[in-house]
């Protein structure tokens, strides 16, 4: 369902064609990195630290090297020495420990052998002498007086401090005068919120194949969110120049931010170089959960003031985000995401901690869901205390164009009010709450980003087209690129073949992150198409012997007054007579990414004897700017919603007292299954982004922001119990209900 105020109508944009890569993906032909096999390929296995924190005294690889089938062993000593101030230092140390193992699961060595079984056997035979060191496992332990240092190379970012610290970053931002804001308030609410680490949970474990030749050049087949970043990060970790590395994108089986960094490729390249054979390295699910990208655990205190007429006067908040073993994902973005309300007085402290747990990575609207849990819970309580509709209270305080964000920058044209109204007018919100159930609403914001993209559009001799980009297709972006090209050229979408090209076949393109692919890479495609149209007009002018000024481009054809229009196939057929092939390339550093807002509503029933929560109905509205392929926009909204639902209800990293993850399997890391859920009704709101030719805003991330507070607020409505810690799993919820009944 689309609520649209978008006045423009398009021929192709906004339609729902079958995606171009779909057939390969429903027939099993699509090749993900783990599906690739090269001639002479070896299999690799990793040796991981059993300690949360230990000095690596020595590593003896001799037994492993002597084992059957073993062709190469590498350790930290084989990797480039990077200066700790190098921007890729933490990434490089995370993929292979040097002096210290910084978390349970930190890689300390790697082995390549003829078979996977031989590699695993040899990995088990690598002898590592560890001297265990005191480990810091939680935010509270990290910030405690006299805490041991979790990572001796960590320095607090931009502090100018030269001493090791357990703080990764300390930032403060705000405006106005919070004390005055509290004085002006009639109601003041204050709570502390806790969330634990959760995983992105992509179904495809990390995998790559590397083939390094005797010339010292390597080809990498990788499943990643950005193969140019795989190239640059691999080059940095190895101290190589980028021309020695070519990265070919395999299909990617989900990323959600977790595949914006790398874990395997430099290791595979070094093993391949040593063995002079291709090497395939694939993680097990246990390795993925133990040692790749959880989203940060948090501890957030938030204090909010409001007047009796519902004006939120102040927000004061301190947000701790745990980065894990090294600086992973910045706490800033989450803290900045408190941008949905006017908040004349704001004081935010965002502090990143370092602990001896797996290094955190970006996860869909990184850090915003945790921040929204705090802020949206307080706003819900405020609405409850004021006795006003929670959407009306938000409408009263909602930011509009020109209001400033938490980082003091004015919002461009945004659709928050429209998105709130979409839920307010929805069938769901206007239906009675089912007997015994509770209804919750909450909102989410994500600013989205632009960054660098390139695109080449080639017209073939029969007038079909190939659209070449460097953005991996995580969830239907090939189709979006083809739709925008179709709209520009006036060419049917099935006559366009969109491809994702390797690092040597298309211009540099940043990672598919920050909901940028359809926005920024799409803009590059549009620009290339427009350049191509200029060429087509020129060719038409040549064919018809008129001045190019007399040629107009209308609906896929060159129109010259008094003559029959010339279609693309007619022009391309004569390309060789008019100057050669028709091709155009565009590159850009996209500015003007449009912020996106989401509003969710859920009805839940809680079994107050067991603490089980059942979601009866769920509706999610989100401003997409313009939905290029509405099915995949809905898919992003629905998928983000369900990841947030999992985060809210059952997903959690459980560490024992030694820092070992106790639930490193899909059995006990409980992601939602189909029977846990109702349909997720997606409402697409379209308030076009004026900075994009088709009005696109990123849609990938915002959907994960509202679900946690939406469900917390619904549970509060159903039970009267305010949950301030995640997950709201049956044991925790029953304990809270029992405690509340007792008090």
């Amino acid at each position: 369902m689309t609520v649209t105020e978008n006045p423009r109508t398009y021929k192709y944009v906004g339609t729902r064609p079958v995606r171009h890569d779909g057939l390969d993906k429903v027939t099993g032909k699509a090749r993900f990195a783990a599906d690739l096999d090269m001639t002479g390929q070896l299999r690799a296995a990793l040796v991981r630290s059993p300690h949360a924190h230990a000095r690596i005294v020595s590593i003896d690889t001799s037994k492993a090297e002597a084992m059957p089938g073993v062709k190469a062993v590498v350790t930290g000593a084989d990797f480039a020495d990077l200066d700790p101030t190098h921007p890729e230092f933490d990434m490089a140390v995370n993929l292979m420990a040097r002096d210290e193992a910084l978390y349970n699961g930190h890689v300390v060595a790697a082995v390549a052998a003829v078979t996977a079984a031989q590699a695993a056997a040899a990995a088990a035979a690598v002898e590592v002498d560890y001297e265990p060191l005191p480990a810091v496992l939680t935010i509270d332990e990290a910030i405690a007086e006299g805490a041991p240092i979790a990572n001796p190379t960590n320095r607090t970012l931009f502090s100018g401090d030269t001493e090791p610290s357990n703080l990764a970053s300390v930032n403060e931002f705000g405006r106005g005068d919070v004390e005055a804001g509290f004085e002006a308030a009639d109601i003041i609410l204050e709570r502390e919120f806790r969330t634990v680490a959760v995983h992105q949970g992509y179904i495809e474990p990390h995998a790559c194949v590397a083939d390094c030749g005797q010339d010292g050049k390597a080809t990498i087949w990788a499943s990643s969110q950005g193969h140019f970043a795989v190239r640059s990060k691999t080059a940095a970790a190895l101290g190589w120049s980028t021309d020695r590395i070519k990265v070919i994108p395999a299909e990617i089986g989900g990323g959600f931010g977790g595949k914006t960094t790398i874990y395997l490729e430099p290791v595979a390249v070094l093993l391949s170089q040593k063995a002079a054979r291709p090497v395939k390295l694939v993680m097990s699910r246990e390795e993925v959960l133990r040692a790749t990208g959880p989203a940060p655990a948090t501890k957030i205190t938030a204090k909010m003031g409001a007047t009796n007429d519902g004006e939120i006067t102040t927000l004061q908040s301190t947000m701790y985000f745990d980065n894990g073993s090294t600086k992973g994902f910045s706490a800033l973005t989450g803290a900045m995401s408190v941008a949905s309300y006017k908040l004349p007085n704001l004081e935010l402290h965002a502090i990143g901690t370092v602990t001896n747990t797996a290094r955190s990575a970006a996860y869909r609207a990184p850090s915003a869901p945790q921040a929204a849990f705090a802020v949206e819970t307080l706003i819900d309580e405020l609405a409850q205390q004021l006795g006003v509709d929670p959407i009306d209270l938000r409408l009263q305080n909602a930011v509009v164009e020109g209001d400033v964000t938490a980082m003091s920058m004015p919002h461009p044209k945004i659709g928050f009010v429209e998105t709130l109204e979409a839920i307010k007018n929805s069938d769901h919100y206007n239906s009675p709450v089912p007997q015994g159930a509770g209804r919750g609403v909450a909102t989410g914001f994500w600013f989205n980003i632009g960054e660098q993209s390139s695109a080449t559009v080639n017209l073939n001799e029969d007038g079909t087209a190939t659209v070449v980009t460097g953005s991996p297709d995580i969830g239907g972006s090939r189709a979006s690129m083809a739709l925008m090209a179709a709209e520009e050229l006036g060419l049917a979408v099935d006559r366009i073949t969109p491809i994702v090209a390797d690092t040597e076949s298309v211009g540099f393109t940043d990672i598919t992150e920050g909901s940028r692919a359809t926005f920024a890479t799409g803009m590059a495609v549009v620009n290339a198409c427009r350049e191509l149209i200029e060429q087509l007009k020129q060719r038409a002018a040549t064919i018809k012997s008129v001045d190019v000024e007399q040629v107009e481009w209308v609906d896929g054809a060159a129109v010259i007054e008094g003559q029959d229009p010339l279609t693309i196939p007619e022009i391309t057929a004569m390309a060789k007579n008019t100057g050669g092939p028709l091709t155009a390339t565009a590159s850009l550093n996209a500015a003007g990414a449009g912020p996106s807002f989401a509003v969710h509503v859920a009805d839940v029933a809680v079994d107050e004897e067991t603490g089980e929560t059942t979601i009866l109905r769920y509706t999610a509205a989100q401003d997409a700017g313009t939905a290029i392929h509405p099915s995949y926009v809905e898919g992003q909204i629905q998928g983000g919603s369900v990841q947030g639902i999992g985060w809210a209800l059952n997903e959690e990293y459980i560490y024992d007292s030694d820092g070992v993850m106790e639930n490193a399997s899909f059995l006990d890391y409980r992601m939602p299954v189909a029977s846990d859920l109702p349909m997720i009704d997606a409402i697409i709101v379209e308030v076009p982004n004026p900075s994009h030719p088709y009005g696109v805003r990123g849609v990938g991330e915002t959907g994960i922001v509202p679900p946690i507070p939406t469900l917390a607020n619904a549970i509060a409505a159903a039970t009267g119990v305010r949950m301030t810690a995640l997950p709201m799993s049956p044991p925790r919820l029953l304990a809270a209900i029992t405690e509340s009944a007792g008090s």
Binding site: R16, G22, V26, T27, K29, I203, I474, Y632, G639, S675
Partner: protein, 160 residues
Amino acid sequence: MPRTHVSCTVNGDEVDFLSSDETSLLNALRDELGLTGVKEGCGTGDCGACTILVDGKVNCACLMFAPEAEGSSILTVEGIAQGDQLHPVQQTFLEGAALQCGVCTPGFLVAAKALLDENSDPTETEIRYALAGNLCRCTGYDKIIRAVQEAAVQVNGASK
């Protein structure tokens, strides 16, 4: 290393392969027979990405030792289309945008086909429970459930 000779039928063809005894059927299908449409998401039977039919019944290929396949008939995602005619679930997944990254898709398609083979008119709840052994992290399941519902309509239409 002991290797066992295994004979079975895969996607309608009689095949033979040699397998070390502790190898999972998943590894044998992928590494020995090149059927990489069968995916490994967990290796412990918790995600369903390796779902195949063994004598018509859904199984996780990762939870079978390869020699167990002796004499059985196996169907993978590579074998569910009839020649150039996609199976209805393949067609409705495509048309209904029921896949995003596509890595869980083969397992879902096989499980959905098995469901419709046994029950061509399932309720939404029956579909959700029948597919509960298959994890998808991209779609939130909504479009997958709808695609199976639509495929059921097509299957019923064809059988009437």
